[in-house]
Amino acid sequence: MKIKTEDLLNDLKEKTLKMIQQVESFKKMPESELNYQPAENKWSILECIEHLNLYSDFYIGEFRTRISFAKHTASEFHKPGLIGNHSAKSMLPIGDKTPMKMKTFKNMNPVNSNLSATTLDKFIQQQNDFLELIDQARNVHLTKTKCSLTIKGMKFRLGDALRFYAFHNIRHIVQATKVIGKSFEF
């Protein structure tokens, strides 16, 4: 199975632009609503976004490093790895359902952080960084370049890591949008 590199990156760019737009619209909401918890064990909008910021803190830097030091130039197609591919795809909600509910490792758990609207600004900033990285990634080999994960010792192919990262963002933007009873179209 292979994916056209151009299509892969354009898709990530499109989805990221939509997410930025969605979070810009969250900025217009009062902070009390952003902090509203829909149920005891469910996250508020700010908690969803903060969770994503914690992942971006790792992945944006990691992508930047891997792209700068990549040894192989771009190829027309990306060949996904089995686990990387499955992990990325399983992040995306299908219709109304969020597949594979999971626990969150305490390092990436946003509950009880001090959250405000600056959380949203940070997300937007990091997504703009990600857009730049997507463009830079057009010049490197997405399959041969490997990328570390937040789990030490494991790596994905860069193409799969980029997809995993962006799709994980979507998962939680969908979750955040549900808090106000709306749906996020990606």
Binding site: G81, I83, S87, S90, M91, M100, L149, K152, G153, M154
Partner: protein
């Protein structure tokens, strides 16, 4: 990703020391009737999963270096196992605790399809195994394993492979010579 990488990541994540145990030839790593609390990575040696009934014993699975093994019936259900894991030679395994393993896989979105994928591979291999057992010709049963896992002939003594293939060691010897 190799089993070794996965195991290494597991220990880094859990913050625990690598848990390695040694079992002598013919000793049991786990026995029927026990509840399986571990997944094992074989680092040296070889093991078999064996089912023992009143009249016979069946070698159900063979494991050697770099393979992961467990009493899966019990690992999945939490009920007592029906099989023994026995060392064919002096063997070293690294043990992953079940609760920590499940937590590791559940807490990291990067891994969230890992378990499903492993289960999928397991089911596929069990279908192959079922076909093995339904194949009436000993020669064909031998050919299937030769094709699927040729390295088994380097790692495991013939008498266990014969048991796994449901034939006598003499029949297997003869098939190998011809």
């Amino acid at each position: 990703m190799s089993p070794q990488e996965f195991v290494k990541s597991y220990f880094e994540w859990s913050g625990k020391q690598i848990d390695e145990v040694v079992i002598e030839r013919n000793e049991y790593l786990s026995k029927a009737g026990q509840i399986e609390k571990y997944l094992y990575l074989i680092t040296h040696g070889a093991l078999r999963a064996v089912y023992i009934s009143k009249e016979e014993e069946f070698t159900m699975r063979l494991g050697y270096k770099d393979s992961m093994i467990s009493s899966l019936d019990s690992f999945i259900s939490g009920k007592p196992s029906k099989i023994h894991l026995q060392a064919i030679r002096k063997t070293k395994v690294i043990r992953l605790e079940k609760d920590i393993y499940l937590n590791f896989v559940a807490s990291n979105p990067e891994l969230n399809s890992f378990y499903t994928k492993m289960m999928g591979e397991l089911v596929t291999s069990m279908i192959d195994r079922e076909i093995d057992l339904l194949t009436s010709s000993p020669f064909e049963r031998y050919q299937r394993i030769l094709k699927r896992s040729p390295q088994v002939f380097q790692e495991i003594p013939l008498k266990y492979i014969a048991s796994y293939l449901r034939m006598t060691p003499e029949t297997l010897s003869r098939l190998r010579k011809s």
